[in-house]
Subunit: 453 residues, 2 copies
Amino acid sequence: MAQKPSIPKGTRDFSPIEMAKRNYIFNTIKDVFGLYGFQQIETPAMENLSTLMGKYGEEGDKLLFKILNSGDYLKDAPAELMEQRDSLHLTNKISEKGLRYDLTVPFARFVVQHRNDLSMPFKRYQVQPVWRADRPQRGRYREFYQCDADIVGSDSLFNEIELVSMIDEVFKRFGVNIAIKLNNRKILSGVAEIIGAPDKIVDITVAIDKMDKIGIDNVNAELREKGLGDDAVAALQPLLTLTGTNEEKMEVLRQLLSSSEEGMKGIEEMQFVLDGVAALGLKSIVELDVSLARGLNYYTGTILEVKALDVEMGSITGGGRYDNLTGVFGMPGLSGVGISFGADRIFDVLNTLDLYPADTTASARVLFINFGNREAVESLKRIKELRASGISAELYPDAAKMKKQMAYANDRKVPFVAIIGENEIANNTVTLKDMATGEQQSLTTAQLIEALR
Amino acid sequence: MAQKPSIPKGTRDFSPIEMAKRNYIFNTIKDVFGLYGFQQIETPAMENLSTLMGKYGEEGDKLLFKILNSGDYLKDAPAELMEQRDSLHLTNKISEKGLRYDLTVPFARFVVQHRNDLSMPFKRYQVQPVWRADRPQRGRYREFYQCDADIVGSDSLFNEIELVSMIDEVFKRFGVNIAIKLNNRKILSGVAEIIGAPDKIVDITVAIDKMDKIGIDNVNAELREKGLGDDAVAALQPLLTLTGTNEEKMEVLRQLLSSSEEGMKGIEEMQFVLDGVAALGLKSIVELDVSLARGLNYYTGTILEVKALDVEMGSITGGGRYDNLTGVFGMPGLSGVGISFGADRIFDVLNTLDLYPADTTASARVLFINFGNREAVESLKRIKELRASGISAELYPDAAKMKKQMAYANDRKVPFVAIIGENEIANNTVTLKDMATGEQQSLTTAQLIEALR
């Protein structure tokens, strides 16, 4: 086989240094999840197609990776479908399993399946890959990680406050300045109610979002094009020109929505969350943004999204409150609220801003040069002591030429090289070379441990 | 949908406490891999079937989970295969990708694909799930993790010494007493050469393995049944009755194999590894075992296997040296040596012996009881300080009845409950209850941090 092997398009190999950076991201997020009392679960990569199908719309069904049944999968395939080459309908005759498309549906399935073992509220986090047969493009992969945290079984808005605080903590640790944008589905519903156009929520949020780019006149024209009457457009003006502090925006919304029960409920929820996070004193900007409309067919209360301030990039975290997570699996009435960190985009942000800690490395701290069997065994004894002190260390396995061993040290970006030759054995010392400065020191083992720690 | 949802057979959900235990296992192994200078990589769950097929034998090909092509996968399917319902041959017309079956083939593919970016020797580790369409049974799953470490591009036997030392360190950390059994493929080849029966290696190792159970007379009878002549059986007697220390066994082997160049090479390699690990002083028993014959169609030098001493269980770690890892991908001559920790069996061993550290828990360290909005906000302020000190803490999100909140604390096995009510707000204190003893203390925030640390 002369052809160089490859991997499926849209998938990636991760090199040691990429893994070190990704581990930094995942471990930071997991540490914070743990500090906030979220519990980790994992679910299988494969789910039954009966669990997955119909949960992501028709388009989503097509984007599921489906696993061919084992054995003679054509045995019971209906003759008609075979003759007509009806790929679409044959699929569920020859495939029973698929790769998970997100972490939400498997989580809902998990909650229902293990309902008798779970005490509510259940705070779970999950960090696992998902797979989508999307057209691959820059920044969009067919295998990527999601980092989700959800609280189900509690309507309390303290959950929202905790999630916003948790987002703040994660990005504080990353050193990324962010704005956490908040909206509430009930506020949007109230707006639609006020102007008598409940089916126009999306058009309205899209229009608000364009204000900065195209100006109020063009936005108004667009709204009329979408079928809004003059009264409705007039009623929307305060929303389109909404500026200032969160307090100022809330005041305008309070007047605008005063006649909508649903809208006022949204205002009340928003105020509670804003007050709560203000009391805690976050580092991040927290900003009411009525143009935020993610997951409108899903979210029923708070909607949130995170933007990095110092780099051009789409949303890097998002989430919201939903009703009825598990209804589709026969367990109605379970509401919750959750967020999802976009690990791949965060990876891109940290790469762009070069925000990894200085010790994000894939290499050992010290490489021992190999001068032959006797010296190598002496080296391994020192290495054993270093490792016992938590210092990663390795021996070059072959007594190769010095130049080759030093090239390896360079390639691996090992910060220190240690030498045990005849003299060092005689004096019971180690020569330590700092690869950055070139400086050499003759040390006892105890001093070596101290120097490398 | 009234039916309770389920997961595909042979797969598992992992609950929070199971995840805490599994993380302890994976993190211990990864920490040791890192201390020894191994670098982590990850490869995609899906590989091209051209990468996977033919690498695991005919049976292995059948056990690969294959992914149905996206879109109209039947469009170009040959009419003949469709009419004959030839599942076997249709597969590679409708499926191009499969789930990885192990970590070794993807690693070989990785090395060849990225050869220009890798400096040799390359020490990599990889901890990821693999999938096999095996018949599920007790202890055998269709999705399970492998934890592999390999060094490629070096023939040095110091690599073997390092791997044995690494195994010792991992199980020392787990508190599991083990025997590390060593053999060498060249010793077995030498034995076969001596008795003139190169095709009987497996029969011989199986016979040696049965000595304890059925005794020497039955073993000899079995060897004759397998077609060995009287001379061959006579020549094998020293091997069948091999006992004593490693030194004593080596002495017998040295005499037995003196006329076999290959055999003596194996003896020399074995002696080097035994001397090396003796010089380092391992905790584990290291034992020469000529009946060890794992991966005979694959390993070319050292073969090793680990048995837990205090629990009935198959091999919990295994490995060996191989030539030509990457030849099948057009890069011949790359040899290496590697080991694989069996995470699922180690999980079973630690469960059986109850060897998890006392702090292996999925719960927060303290739960704050929720008495209402004012108290909850005060609680969140304290919780923020605790988290800043690295103490995991959570607020019960709803002002539910005390009984319900305490039941939650019990279910979650939270070790402490904190109370901030009217009195505590007035006195700026927190009441801390130890859930195990029932003891209560009134503390300042600083004292609280001290008590929970």
